[in-house]
Amino acid sequence: MTSLRSRAGTAALAAVPLLALAVFFLYPVGGMLARGFWPEGSFAPGRVLEVLARPRVHRVLWFTLWSAAAATAVAIVTGVPVAFALHRLRFPGRDLVRALVVVPFVLPTVVVGVAFRQLIAPSGPLGRLGLDGTATAIVAALVFFNVSVVVRTVGSFWEAIDPRREEAAAALGASPAQVFRTVTLPALLPGIVSAASVVFLFCATSFGVVLTMGGLRYANVETEIYLLTTQELDLTGAAALSVLQVLVISALLALSARVRRSVVPVDRTTKRVPRPRRAHLPVLAWTAAVVVFLMAPLASLVVASLRRGESWGLQNYRALGTTGERNALLVPATQGLANSLQVALVASLLALSLGAAVAFLVSRPGGGRPTAVLDGLFMLPLGVSAVTVGFGFLITLDRPPLDLRTSPMLIPIAQAMVALPLVVRTVGPVLRSVDDRQRQAASSLGAGPLRVLLTVDLPVAWRSLLAAAGFAFAVSLGEFGATSFLARDDRPTLPVVIYRLIGHPGAENFGMAMAASVVLAATTAAVMFAVQRLRVGSMGAF
């Protein structure tokens, strides 16, 4: 009886997020794909295959794969020593450095693109390197973005390794290098593989960075979809690329889920980590260098925002209250910030409520196959091009009963879908860490299911819920892929404003773009610092 009732409750709880996913993700994406496969109302898959045979598509595909692979490899090599320093050593300022390392990951992609271009432009501080418009610059920007993923994911694995295991090996005669190779590395490997697959995913689907930095020379699958849909109106081509992307991403997600499952659970030690010794100097120096690498583009962005031509000052910030030189914008940039905050608030609340329900469901022990499927299903938005989602929204949610074209909810809903997997990934592991016997003990003492939730799960999970909400808020603030399709010129979000400004000539517009980027970066960073203070281990780790 109880079991039947609880099963009905579970089904009801699953129904809401599933419905949302179906209507606001699967349906638009499906609609987008259908446009490609049924170009004139009849099924013509041959056209899709034709698209895949185009030499330009091959070039795009090749660039997507090699840039993502190179960025992944570099991010891993860069991030692993930092993960050690930040998760296995204790030194003053460590928490600050941890927070700094996370900042790039939540920075709006447009801001990163702009910041990097500012740094390496012929007139910029690193202009002499001649990196502007090169593939190297794009890979560096992708690394910049994803180092934090490696640090957090590998770091949490590193924290879970009992240092006594390494000490046992050392006492048996293993040199530090041998200890690392024979004991530490095998234990880290699942974390490294998991981080690598997620980073590859992010790099292969990165939009804002490649769009702002690639220029006409470099395009990846994501920007190509954007280009085909908005510039060339070639929906068949766009759909073909979307299908390809969905297939590759699904395979990758399945792989990373498999790696995650095969991880042997390790007892987390509460042992305090040691202070650095002299032997740790190279690792600390490397960490410092990485922090410099992560901060340099931002510093150069701040400098550029304070300057117009030869004069220095806050004029670019003051100009944010205007519509820019030759009215580059329809509304003042400050209005864009207000829109962004409003949209992010609604989007994060949506993502939190849906994501919490999913996290709750997937964290129930003994869920078996349905749970695994549910988990995988809600990871899909991570891998499907945000551009595809955005365009799908435009072409499917434009007629009754779901005519949302003019609805202010359109962008928040799209962004909530993008942020959903991050919420599930943040809250899920925390709920899973609750020993089910605690729930059983509570219910044997007379607590009903709701009571159990409030008294056992919630006290453990509230931090992670808050952190997930903040995380979703930050992601939504910077979301550009889907928003670039959906934002109307009279109601733009701040990233859209920035993109528009750098697309218009004029020193004032450029200066405003810099200032707006700084404001957006500062806002997201402030949110992330607040979230970081909640100290949720699973945050940003995959």
Binding site: A168, A169, A171, L172, G173, S175, V179, V264
Partner: protein, 334 residues
Amino acid sequence: MKGLEVGDLTVQFGSTVAVDHVDLEVPAGSVVAVLGPSGCGKSTLLRAVAGLEVPASGSVAYDGHSLAGVPTHKRGFALMFQDGQLFEHLDVGANIAYPLRLRHRSRAVQGQRVAELLDLVGLQGYGDRTPATLSGGERQRVALARALAVDPRLLLLDEPLSALDRGLRERLAGDLHDILRRAGATAMLVTHDHEEAFAVADRMAVMRDGRIVQGGTLDEVWRRPADGWTARFLGYATVLSGEGARRLRQLAAPSATWESVALRRSALRVDAAGPLTARVQEARVTPDQIRVQLDVDGAGSLPAVADPGTDVRVGASVRVSIDTSRIAPVPVER
């Protein structure tokens, strides 16, 4: 026969002194237990010997050679933890062969040695198992075999049996004693369990608040606890002083001069021919004996035992005898 010599060793964590001017010797071929409650600094002492903690002052030497500045992996020791710390990604055989592989022994030698060691610890045929499939006791046996694989100069055992349940612990303690003797090992064992220390070691050092309060052979420590605290920690049930102690001394050792005495529970026995009289306050039947609490005339409330079947109803008057081998004089406290 030299071995490990720890001289005036101090280890500090910030302002906390974990190991406080400790002297300790582990002669080659002997097994020394460092016994103390949790937090007394015994594990830190062990880690300092292993080279895992850097001492603030003092020396650690082996066979007369100082180990200052010698990293852990070059000390030629082996360390075995409470929970084994087996390498989960290797099977049992590969775990045991780990130190052999580090020393580039041939495959044939590795295989032969692993078989020998599995035999020694009583796990023949377990080579292909993964650590995850082993019970707690089996894991500790594998950890022991791994630690013994290259005949370490010194074996460091950190509460090797504490994670096991009682029955298994007793059995494995006996096995550990025999295995260490058969392997001719020199070993330092730290534990909070006096039974484990007595079952495995030849010598022991009692540690409290970072200091060694007493050291010697098992018998010396057992017969002459340094003080009342040590006596209680070694398993003595009560420490008696003042008038009660004098009363017992007159009966048990009239010529002695001690003023305070530690008693095992079984030091006093309900015995119709005994010299003392007492009133039964509590009685509890256990499988081997009856445990009673007695109000002994002239000595106060003391624990004692009675043979099964003895009439020891609460309130009854009984006579009590003293077993002098189960009492130990201790210095008067303060």
